[in-house]
């Protein structure tokens, strides 16, 4: 009897703040005859922009008219609801190589209750 397939352990790339690590891409650019080629090229393009190895796999999610690409399925566009910055964007977004592409750079993680600069 063949053994039950076991899912591969996935090591997710931990994004660093200050470096591009996410993209919002208009879904319309994938409406082509051969979307696989476009998708593969998009992955290679993003790996280059993010400074990762060619062939790095990215997750994508459907976000309305956009696809949200990032290395980990746990990435979120905004800070989570239980974060002190809940509701605010986690990324700074800049124009990409095409008008349909926005490249996201993770904002520096704020230090909770950081009082180090409080005058005493």
């Amino acid at each position: 009897m063949p053994p039950t397939p076991v899912p591969k352990k996935v090591d997710y790339h931990e994004p660093e703040s200050g470096k591009p690590s996410a993209a919002l891409v208009k879904r319309s650019i994938f409406h082509a005859e051969n979307p696989e080629n476009l998708f593969a090229r998009m992955k290679d393009h993003l790996a280059k922009v993010f400074g990762l190895e060619k062939g790095t796999n990215f997750c994508y999610r459907v976000q309305g008219d956009d696809l949200f690409f990032s290395a980990s399925p746990y990435d979120t566009l905004n800070y989570p609801k239980d974060h002190e910055l809940a509701g605010q964007p986690r990324y700074d977004w800049a124009d990409g190589a095409k008008p349909e592409i926005k490249i996201g750079t993770l904002k520096p993680e704020p230090k909770p209750n950081d009082l180090s600069d409080l005058p005493v």
Partner: protein, 145 residues
């Protein structure tokens, strides 16, 4: 060989409860993804058709059907975790075109199952999900190049 854009054999399903270890789920016969769009409609006066029909939200879910229904029943814990499923490409199997589907904040809900006389038993379980920030889709995909 290029991807076929046809998928078969959902396999390598696994559920990792938050803070727990990966639990492989085998003997899967079907895995269905549902975006569960929620719509609001309105019509009034003498309208024959809706004059408003908008999507106001989604509740993505994945339903697994399989033979090992006692494993499904064992997931009735009210917790949440991460569900991963792999669909084979119809020709390339786990190569080019195979798809990995991940549902985060996935909560097992309402498992059911049983067996009948002279039939192999079967069960189903649905994993519902939530979003950490309220706007990011908890359902994500990865395609093998």
């Amino acid at each position: 060989m290029p991807a076929t854009r046809l998928w078969t054999n959902p396999q390598a399903a696994g559920y990792t409860p938050a803070g727990g270890a990966l639990l492989p789920i085998g003997r899967i016969t079907n895995a269905t993804i549902d975006a569960n769009g929620q719509r609001l409609t309105f019509s009034g006066d003498g309208d024959r058709y809706d004059t408003l029909n908008v999507n106001i939200g989604n509740a993505p879910a994945i339903t697994l059907t399989g033979g090992d229904f006692f494993k499904f029943l064992g997931l009735m814990n009210g917790g949440f975790g991460t569900l991963v499923i792999t669909y084979e490409d119809a020709k390339n199997v786990l190569g080019t075109g195979s798809a990995v589907v991940t549902l985060i904040n996935a909560a097992p809900d309402s498992p059911s199952g049983g067996a009948a006389h002279r039939q192999v038993g079967s069960g189903t379980i649905t994993f519902v999900s939530s979003s950490a920030d309220g706007i990011t889709n908890p359902l994500s995909f990865t395609l093998a190049a």
